[in-house]
Amino acid sequence: MLQMKHLSKVYRTHMVETHALRDFSIHVHDGEFVAVTGPSGSGKTTFLNIAGLLEEFSGGEYWLDGVDVRGMGDDARSRLRNEKIGFIFQSFNLIPDLNLFDNVDVPLRYRGFAAAERRKRIEEALARVGLASRMKHYPSELSGGQQQRAAIARALAGSPRLLLADEPTGNLDSLMARGVMELLEDINRQGTTIIMVTHDPELAARAQRNVHIIDGQVTDFDAEPRLRVPTRDDRAALAAV
């Protein structure tokens, strides 16, 4: 699903060079749920930005779902982001001026779906996170947990292959956090690959695999997944149940 080989990222100002990532390699398989942990400033966010095609990298290779993204133009990366990746942010990043329906609609618009298709997907996604009745509400009228579920619905609506979550429960209390976590696990069971950045060891423990980043390098790499990756057949079986 996602493979980085000897990847590096250097921030340059006219005074100093900072190596945010150094010789960074990771391989995430289809259907995995990976938790990325590490102290502040270790390069977690940089990794997430590069993985999500939000930033370019300075050296190495990055293959996303079989596509070599090295040297890709801004528009192509936007397109790829739109089709393959869903984002969930710590501060939700819902657009305050749009209601939930329109918020979920944003990535679908850029995808260029027809109106009927968009409506179907928005309704399904919001139903899936339990917000079908709140479609016309604005973000400010919702609780934090509801906002994050709406953000998850927005991430899911485009049926991405990869979900990137940046401290998805960081702004939530423990009860809401549990609900969001359960939702993510449920999504993962249905086949979407999830990479979650978190500093919460308890959350990380619920993932199939943990990756620890210190000083821009992976230090603790579970070579093999702890659980077996569901195959296509398994998924078909699950859907049949």
Partner: protein, 403 residues
């Protein structure tokens, strides 16, 4: 493009939208009406006087003292003027187009007619008058030297022959057979025969509603001891001849004062100075207004971009291309401007109606509004281009920055 979501997002920040819209509306209303007034003035200023304006000048002579005979002086002056080198034609006249003062009367077709058929200006000229004005005879003949009468202010106006402008001839005799017809320059006076028609010669009053209706009367007609002369020179020799005239006439007779010698071009400038001033003032207001509105749009759009950085980043993260962000802001501006323009159209006609009722102005012609709208749309898009480009450059990675 995605109009509905932009619109619903806009509705969440109504005040800012209303402010820009209102500014656009007022600008449209003012610019349309100001442009219309400028257009009207321009039209007014471009009306031809019917004269050769480039090569002519005029001046007055005021005699004083006992024993001053204006007719003797007038004949002597004309003889002097006509033999000066460079002079193409010289005549006496009581007035000149655009100087704002002259003689007017009502023309009647019947001797006892109660109301006049047409109001006309009267120019008292001699047989060189047409030549000095540089106006063209289109029918009939010029005055003969023996037709020139000596008139004073106390005399009644009943010349045997007159020459009228084409416009006046058509007004008096709509069938086009004015030549040779008789009219009365006043009730109770004997009839005058139209012996010639000139293509055009404006009245001295620019504001007259009958500015094209002029009549030429063959007479030497001093006002008291004052006389006025009109001189046309050979092309290009005007300024040189003006200097000679001033000198020669002052020498020729010590008991009179030669007034300021003015070219007809100068007279035109002075006559339309207020129109010109109005046009300049309106032009300055239009430019300043457009500048202020454009700066206002730039200011507000910059602020919106700053305020919505995170939102722009989110959109980018969700797959928006730079072009999509640019289009978003351009579309947003287009919507606000359009709203303003709808209101502005109403305001423009409101202003126009107000001017119509208070100043008898004409109603704004329809095409000013669409042209104004196009300009303001273009202005809005240009103004927002800078901030929108800045928005498009917001990196998607801002979404993961914890503020």
């Amino acid at each position: 493009m995605e109009i509905r979501p932009i619109l619903s997002a806009l509705m969440r920040s109504k005040v800012a939208m209303i402010l820009i819209g209102l500014q656009v509306a007022l600008t449209l209303a003012i610019v349309c009406n100001a442009l219309f007034i400028i257009g009207e003035r321009l039209e007014r200023m471009q009306r031809p006087s019917g004269m050769n304006e480039a090569d002519t000048f005029w001046f007055g002579s005021n005699g004083f003292g006992q024993g001053y005979d204006p007719f003797t002086v007038l004949r002597a002056d004309l003889a002097l003027l006509r033999q000066l080198p460079g002079v193409a034609a010289a005549s006496t006249t009581n007035s000149v187009p655009m100087i704002g003062g002259g003689w007017g009367t009502g023309i009647t077709l019947q001797p006892k007619q109660k109301t006049a058929t047409a109001d006309t200006a009267i120019y008292f000229v001699d047989d060189k008058g047409l030549d000095a004005f540089g106006t063209h005879l289109v029918a009939g003949r010029n005055f003969k030297p023996e037709e020139i009468a000596d008139l004073t202010m106390g005399n009644r106006l009943a010349p045997v022959s007159i020459i009228v402008t084409q416009a006046l001839a058509d007004k008096l005799f709509p069938d086009g057979d004015a030549l040779g017809k008789q009219v009365h320059l006043d009730e109770d006076t004997p009839a005058s025969t139209i012996v010639g028609i000139v293509d055009r010669l404006q009245q001295p009053w620019m504001d007259s509603r009958t500015v094209e209706y002029s009549t030429l009367v063959p007479a030497h007609m001093p006002y008291g001891n004052s006389t006025r002369y009109l001189v046309r020179t050979e092309p290009g020799r005007r300024d040189e001849v003006m200097k000679t005239v001033e000198q020669k006439l002052a020498e020729s007779n010590r008991s009179r004062i030669i007034g300021r010698i003015r070219t007809v071009e100068q007279t035109r400038r002075e006559a339309y100075a207020n129109d010109r001033a109005m046009m300049i003032i309106l032009g300055v207001v239009i430019v300043a207004l457009l500048a202020i509105t454009a700066l206002g749009i730039v200011g507000m759009a910059s602020f919106w971009v700053t305020q919505r950085t995170k939102q722009i980043g989110t959109r980018r993260a969700l797959g928006a291309t730079r072009g999509a962000i640019l289009r978003y802001f351009l579309t947003e501006n287009f919507l606000i401007t359009s709203g303003g323009l709808v209101f502005g159209t109403l305001l423009a006609y409101g202003f126009s109606l107000w001017l119509l009722t208070h100043y008898q102005a004409r109603l704004l012609p329809w095409y000013y509004v669409p042209v104004g709208c196009l300009c303001l749309w273009a202005l809005g898009q240009l103004a927002v281009l800078g901030p929108a480009t800045r928005a498009a450059r917001v990196p998607p990675a801002v979404v993961t920055r914890s503020v």
